[in-house]
Amino acid sequence: MFAHMIDRDWLWLAGEFYLVGFLLGTWSLVRGGKPSTVVMYGLIAAGYLMQWIGLYLRGMAVGGCPLGNTFELYQFTAWSATTLYLVVGVAFRGNLLGYFTATLSAALTLTSLAIPAWDAARRTHIFGGNPWIELHAALALFSYGVFALLALTAAMLLFRNYSLKHKRVGGWYSFLPSVIDLDQISVRLLGVGVTLMTAALAVGSVYWLRDFATVNYAKLLITVAIWAAYAIAFTLRLRGRLVSRRFAWTCMILFALALLSLNPINSSRHPEPVSSRS
């Protein structure tokens, strides 16, 4: 049965696991209970495994890291965020991070699967056999995954702040982590994301400096703008100038912009060998 499954089948399956996580979590919360951490972790881990298989098959088909179209970029971002959740989620036992991760991963995975135009054309061998460029792209996209998880912890920080300011600490708000915990994990995620993106740009710049003609200025400008915005937010947060609600909103808005930038970044690439989807 599994032998006949193509990459998209696996990715659909992954999306469905994430969706079940989201639905189960919502059902628990509506009933006034707490989503089971173990069940949520299990569903996300299962979804992650399916997505990993799907992306591996896609990678084998396109001859490199599958980052050749908007569909693949969204899938890779969701996969990166999930990878990170599976690592840091252990420290967040008994709270809603799993539920939020399942929601985001389901949204990114299923949205990209539901829009055929995003996967209408596959680019193969987009890195031209250059492992450094492949590393650059993978690091950059992985940093987007980190920023995705950051957006989730920032959203949780906003909910926590709202609950405390409006004196609504019961119900599902009681499952949220403390302000300090959310702030600390957010700062760490921001630091990791900025570091990864800096490394991605550093690796890319070595290649660009060698062959400046291949540089796509629109893509460079957008990427550097996103990196600079996150770096500035990180600096301001470390200096205590961007805190609490403003910090959380900044992280969420920046991720929305980063997500929106995926399409123009992908479109601004030089034409590469294209294979239409079977």
């Binding site: 405390l164 300011k165 600490v169 019961g170 302000v179 300090i180 805190v243 609600r245």
Partner: protein, 365 residues
């Protein structure tokens, strides 16, 4: 004292609690350690009382046991009243008795906190455990009590884990501590400042101190009072005049002064927040009139709760717990039914009294 016809035999519970006995009666029924020891010694010698355990708390005095005859149960009552110097006829007005499956259900509800004055409180669980440990130590617990108490502890844990009966605190002081947890997580690094030496402030400070906070400081207009209170709370004192300069050093400020004007101003908090970078500030205003300027609540990363806010949360928690009672009772009824079958079979068998129990009684008989 003559034995009332309806006194239970077999497995029973006899006693009085806050449900029937008002505070002044409970004061008279409350037993000191020495009296309790004496009572247990005398009950050990009571003919017809196979097993027993005494649960004595500030809100209840209850005797759980297995009796061969109503006379044995009457014996408990008369021994207790004699040692407490309390009229048996008066005690009869307040005491309640249950036997068989009802007594088992009662014990399960007591241990789960369903029968407590503060519904869902967990202290009673420890008190029931102590009562059972005492009975074991005195060898007055036999096969029936062993089975009933052990299963009771499992059932109480099950109820606490699977329902919201213990969720959320119902006292203002503990609600304040819970909120601090919600803001700071672990309180081991959290510094508390108690502003003023009012009673409710002191209570709240003690609630914080019981959770091992990072440090506690007391500031009062009367420095000697601040030092006195700080010493009793194992904290330090701060001259009131230094408040504004040091406000930023504290994570939680408990205000309970009798000042007619706010003592924590917006300007002072704004300056403190500059010092604190991203660390939040939690202001608990227990004073009337209020100690914290109302506009302080608008500042980012500052959380202000007054007495009404805390009381509203405590009330919400209490209602939530009450709403869980029927769910808990249903869970406990299932457990009681299973347990009662086991107890019945133990009671039906010839009594296999614990070591020492039979010998001791035989020697007294």
């Amino acid at each position: 004292m003559s034995a009332p016809a309806n006194l239970p035999t077999g497995f029973f519970v006899l006693g009085a609690s806050h449900h029937q006995a008002p505070l002044d009666v409970r004061e008279k029924l409350s037993m000191g350690t020495e009296t309790l020891e004496q009572l247990q010694t005398e009950l050990n010698q009571l003919v017809g009382l196979r097993e027993f355990a005494v649960l004595s708390t500030c809100n209840r005095i209850e005797f759980y046991g297995v009796a061969d005859s109503p006379a044995a149960v009457t014996g408990i009552e008369s021994t207790f009243c004699r040692l407490q110097d309390y009229a048996g006829s008066e005690f009869a007005k307040y005491r309640r008795q249950r036997h068989g499956v009802d007594a088992v259900q009662h014990l399960l509800e007591v241990a789960s906190g369903l029968d407590s004055q503060l519904i869902g409180e967990t202290e009673i669980f420890g008190q029931v455990k102590d009562a059972y440990a005492q009975a074991q130590r005195r060898q007055s617990a036999g096969p029936v009590l062993n089975r009933v108490f052990q299963k009771t502890f499992h059932a109480a844990k099950h109820v606490r884990t699977h329902t919201a009966i213990t969720s959320g605190h119902v006292s203002v002081a503990n609600v304040a501590v819970d909120l601090a947890h919600t803001i700071f997580g672990d309180l081991a690094q959290t510094k508390i400042l108690l502003l003023g030496a009012g009673e409710i402030g002191e209570k709240t400070a003690r609630a914080f101190q019981s959770r091992d906070v990072g440090g506690l400081t007391v500031a009062s207009r009367r420095l000697e009072r601040a030092m006195e209170l700080a010493s009793s709370l194992d904290g330090t004192a701060l001259p009131f005049e230094h408040l504004e300069r040091h406000l930023g050093d504290y994570d939680v400020v408990v205000c309970s002064t009798s000042a007619p004007q706010p003592v924590v101003t917006r300007a002072a908090v704004t300056a403190a927040m500059r010092q604190r970078h991203a660390r939040p500030l939690f202001l608990i205003d227990l004073a009337l009139p209020r100690d914290v300027d109302a506009s302080v609540a608008e500042l980012p990363n500052v959380y202000v709760y007054n007495l009404d806010d805390l009381a509203a949360i405590a009330e919400e928690n209490r209602s939530a717990r009450e709403a869980e009672i029927s769910k808990c009772r249903a869970l406990l009824r299932e457990r009681t039914a299973t347990l009662w079958k086991q107890v019945e079979s133990l009671l039906a068998r010839s009594p296999a009294a614990p070591a020492g129990f039979t010998d001791h009684k035989t020697s007294e008989a």
